[in-house]
C-alpha cells in the first residue's frame, strides 16, 4: 500500500514538474534591451581593480557560505554563545589568538620586520606566562598591539602577485596568493603540533585534536561579526570584494 502511494506521488510530482516547466517556457518572452546600459558610462574611471575571472564560481561559493552559515555554522556559534559564559568565551578567543602569534612571528622574520617580530614575541611570552597560557591578554594593556602577518603577506613582500579573487568555502573571501599562504601556514602548524604531540600520551589524540579544531572554528566565527547578505544590498558581493581588497592594501602598509 505505502509503495503504491509513493509511486503515485512520484508520478504526480513528475507530471506537475513537467507541466510547470512547460508553463514557464511558454511564459518566457524574448528579452528587450533596457533603457540604460553600462556602455553609456565607459568614460568614467573604474573603481574596482580586483581581478575576478572566476566570478561565477565565486558567487556560487559566496552563496554556499551563506547557506552553510545559516544552517550549520551560525546555529552552532549561537549555541556556543548561549551556553558558555562570556569570560570563558574571551578566554577561548585569547587562547587561539595567542597561538596565532607564532604564525605572525615567523612571518615577520621571513619579511625581515624586526620591530614587529619583537612585539609579537613579547606578546606571546607575556600572554603565555602572566596571561596563563594565553587565556588572558595582558600584553595589550602594556600597549603592545597585536600584529597580523600571514604567509600570504610574506609572499606579497617577496613579490608574488595577488592573483585572482577567490571565495573559499567556509573561510570566505581571499585571493589565490592568500589561499596558498593559508595552506602553508596550516601545514607549518600541523608540523609543529605533530612534532610536539601534546596529546600523544592521552590515548585519544585524534579526538582531542578534532575537538580543538572545531572549537577554534567556532571561536573564529564567533569573533567575526560579518553576516552574509545582512546588508540587504543587491550588490553586496561587489562591496565585499572591494572592501576586502582595500583592507588588504591597508594591511600591507602597516
Amino acid at each position: 500500500m505505502s509503495r503504491y502511494i509513493i509511486r503515485v506521488s512520484i508520478t504526480l510530482g513528475l507530471a506537475l514538474y513537467l507541466t510547470g516547466c512547460a508553463a514557464n517556457n511558454a511564459y518566457l518572452a524574448p528579452e528587450i534591451p533596457p533603457m540604460h546600459t553600462v556602455g553609456e558610462f565607459g568614460d568614467d574611471e573604474s573603481v574596482s581593480r580586483t581581478n575576478d575571472p572566476w566570478e561565477g564560481f565565486n558567487k556560487s561559493m559566496y552563496k554556499f557560505n551563506y547557506q552553510f552559515d545559516r544552517f550549520v555554522f551560525l546555529p552552532i556559534v549561537g549555541a556556543y554563545e548561549a551556553a558558555v559564559p562570556e569570560v570563558a568565551q574571551s578566554g577561548v578567543s585569547n587562547f587561539f589568538s595567542n597561538i596565532g602569534e607564532v604564525r605572525t612571528f615567523y612571518n615577520c622574520l621571513l619579511q625581515a620586520k624586526g620591530k614587529k617580530s619583537l612585539v609579537t614575541l613579547g606578546r606571546f611570552l607575556a600572554n603565555s606566562t602572566i596571561g596563563i597560557g594565553g587565556l588572558f591578554d595582558p600584553a595589550s594593556s602594556f600597549g603592545w598591539r597585536q600584529q597580523h602577518e600571514t604567509f600570504g603577506t610574506t609572499l606579497e613582500t617577496w613579490g608574488v602577485r595577488t592573483g585572482p579573487y577567490l571565495v573559499l568555502p567556509v573561510l570566505g573571501p581571499s585571493t589565490v596568493r592568500d589561499a596558498g599562504g593559508f595552506a602553508v601556514d596550516a601545514a607549518v602548524r600541523w608540523e609543529v603540533v605533530s612534532s610536539i604531540d601534546p596529546f600523544g600520551g592521552t590515548g585519544a589524540r585524534s579526538e582531542i585534536e578534532t575537538g580543538i579544531t572545531a572549537l577554534e572554528a567556532v571561536d573564529l566565527r564567533h569573533r567575526e561579526k560579518f553576516r552574509y547578505y545582512e546588508s540587504d544590498y543587491p550588490f553586496e558581493y561587489y562591496m565585499v570584494r572591494y572592501l576586502v581588497s582595500e583592507k588588504r592594501e591597508l594591511n600591507i602598509l602597516r
Binding site: L28, A29, P30, E31, I32, P33, P34, M35, H36, T37, V38, E40, F41, D43, D44, E45, S46, V47, S48, E55, G56, F57, K59, S60, K63, Y66, R145, Y228, Y229, E230, S231, D232, Y233, P234, F235, Y237, Y238, E246, E249, L250, L253
Partner: protein, 425 residues
C-alpha cells in the same frame, strides 16, 4: 574698597556659575555641515548608556514570487528591543536606503530602549528588503503609497509581537526620508486609528523629496568632471585617504582616523560634499536595481531577463551608480505612475512628494514635532522657514549638525526623549 573687593571676589566666584548657566549654548563641535554629516557625534559627546539592550532582528515571512537573485531574502526584516514590562511602544522608520539595523537606527534603538520604550525599527521603503517584501507597487518614492505599506507592515508586526509584550500606547519617529514618511503615516493613522499615536517626531525630514534630491545630486557638480566622473572622483578620495593613513600611525580606518583626517583638513568642501552624494548614489543604485528587477521594468535590466545568482551584476551596479535620483524620477518613476493614472502631470507628481500636500493636517495636529538643523543641506532655501511656519512651537532647529550629524549628540537625544516622554507619564 574692601567691600568692593569682596563683591569682586564674590562675582569671580559666581563666574563659573554664570558660565554653567551659559551651557544652554549649543556645543555640538563640528561646524561644517558636510563634515558633521560624515563624522556624526564623537563618542564622548553621546549619552552614556550602560547595560545590554536585547536587540533582535526578526523577519515577517512572505511567500512572494521573486527573482532567483534575491534567494537570500525571506521576508521583511525589522529590528526590535522589547522591555519586559508594560511600556510605550515606538516605531522607527529609517532614512533613504537604510535597513532597520543601520548605525543611526541602532543609536535610536539603544537610546529609546534606555528611556523605557519598546522599540520596533523598520527599514526604509527605499531599501531593497522593503521594495521586495512590503511595497505594493515595488516602486518606492510615492509618500502616500509608501506610508500605506509602512502602516500595513506595522500592523502585521504588532499582530505578531502583541502577544509577547504589554504596551501602554504608541509613538512614531523617523529620520531623513523616514521623517517625512512618518508624517504621512501619522496622517493615515488619524483615519485608521489602529495605533492612535500619542506623539510623532520627524528628525531632519525632507520637506519636498524632489528639492532634497536635487540638492544632494547638486553636490556632484563640484567634483572634477561632474557627476559622470564619480568613479574617478571616488578613486582620488580613496588615494588621498590611503596616503594619509600610511603617513600616520593609525590602527584602523575608524572614527579616530576620520577625525584626524577632518582636523588635518584632508578633504575640501567639494570633496566631502561629493562623498555624501556618492554614498547616496550607492544607496539609490540598490533601490533602482531592485525595483527594476521586481517590476520587470526594463530600465537597467533587459525586460524579461531571468537573472541567476551566478550572473555578474557588476555592469548593473556601474550603470545604476551613474543614474541620478532625478533620472530615476523622470525616466522610471513618473512613467510608472502615469501608466496607472494617465491624467497625472509631472508637476503634480512632484507636488505629491512633499509635506505641503498634507500641510493642513500638519498645522492642525499638535502631536507631530520636528527636529532639524539650520545648516541641513537637504532643505532648499525657504524650507526651514516653511517648517517654522507650519509647526510653530513644535519645531526645534539647532544651529549646526548638517544632515543628522548631531542625531546622537546628547542634547539632541535628550530633547527627543523629553519631547516624546511627557505624554507617557
Amino acid at each position: 574698597m574692601k567691600i568692593t573687593g569682596c563683591v569682586l571676589i564674590a562675582f569671580l566666584l559666581l563666574l563659573p556659575g554664570i558660565a554653567s548657566a551659559d551651557d544652554a549654548v549649543y556645543r555640538y563641535p563640528i561646524d561644517d555641515s558636510y563634515a558633521a554629516t560624515i563624522l556624526g557625534t564623537p563618542q564622548n559627546l553621546r549619552t552614556e548608556l550602560s547595560g545590554k539592550v536585547p536587540v533582535q532582528t526578526l523577519t515577517l515571512k512572505t511567500d512572494l514570487e521573486k527573482p532567483d537573485i534575491f534567494f537570500y531574502d525571506h521576508g521583511l526584516r525589522y529590528t526590535v528591543a522589547f522591555q519586559d514590562r508594560k511600556a510605550p511602544l515606538i516605531f522607527l522608520i529609517a532614512g533613504t536606503g537604510g535597513s532597520s539595523k543601520s548605525s543611526r537606527m541602532l543609536a535610536l534603538i539603544n537610546n529609546l530602549y534606555h528611556a523605557g520604550f519598546h522599540v520596533v525599527a523598520l527599514p526604509s521603503p527605499t531599501s531593497s528588503n522593503f521594495i521586495i517584501n512590503a511595497s505594493t507597487s515595488h516602486v518606492p518614492g510615492n509618500l502616500t503609497d509608501d506610508a500605506a505599506d509602512l502602516y500595513q507592515a506595522m500592523e502585521q508586526i504588532w499582530r505578531v509581537s502583541g502577544e509577547r509584550i504589554e504596551v501602554s500606547d504608541f509613538y512614531l519617529a523617523g529620520y531623513s526620508l523616514g521623517g517625512t514618511e512618518a508624517a504621512f503615516v501619522a496622517k493615515l493613522d488619524e483615519e485608521r486609528k489602529v495605533f492612535d499615536f500619542r506623539r510623532v517626531m520627524m528628525i531632519n525630514p525632507a520637506v519636498s523629496l524632489y528639492n532634497s534630491v536635487t540638492k544632494i545630486e547638486g553636490l556632484l557638480d563640484g567634483i572634477p568632471g561632474g557627476p559622470r566622473r564619480i568613479g574617478a572622483f571616488f578613486n582620488q578620495v580613496v588615494a588621498k585617504s590611503t596616503d594619509f593613513y600610511r603617513k600616520g600611525d593609525y590602527v584602523a580606518v575608524d572614527d579616530d582616523f576620520l577625525y584626524a583626517a577632518y582636523e588635518a583638513q584632508l578633504l575640501n568642501r567639494n570633496e566631502t560634499g561629493g562623498l555624501i552624494a556618492v554614498s547616496f548614489r550607492i544607496g539609490s543604485a540598490g533601490m533602482i536595481f531592485t525595483s527594476d528587477a521586481m517590476t520587470n521594468g526594463g530600465y537597467v535590466i533587459p525586460k524579461h531577463k531571468v537573472l541567476k545568482n551566478s550572473d555578474s551584476l557588476g555592469d548593473y551596479l556601474w550603470t545604476c551608480l551613474h543614474l541620478s535620483f532625478l533620472d530615476y524620477f523622470n525616466e522610471y518613476y513618473c512613467p510608472h505612475f502615469q501608466r496607472v493614472r494617465p491624467e497625472l502631470t509631472r508637476d503634480e507628481l512632484i507636488g505629491s512628494l512633499s509635506l505641503k500636500k498634507i500641510e493642513d493636517y500638519l498645522t492642525a495636529s499638535n502631536r507631530i514635532g520636528v527636529i532639524t538643523n539650520e545648516d541641513d543641506f537637504i532643505l532648499a532655501p525657504g524650507e526651514i522657514d516653511y517648517l517654522r511656519r507650519v509647526f510653530g512651537s513644535r519645531i526645534k532647529v539647532y544651529p549646526s549638525g548638517g544632515h543628522l550629524g548631531n542625531l546622537e549628540y546628547r542634547d539632541n537625544m535628550a530633547f527627543l526623549i523629553d519631547w516624546l516622554r511627557p505624554a507617557t507619564r
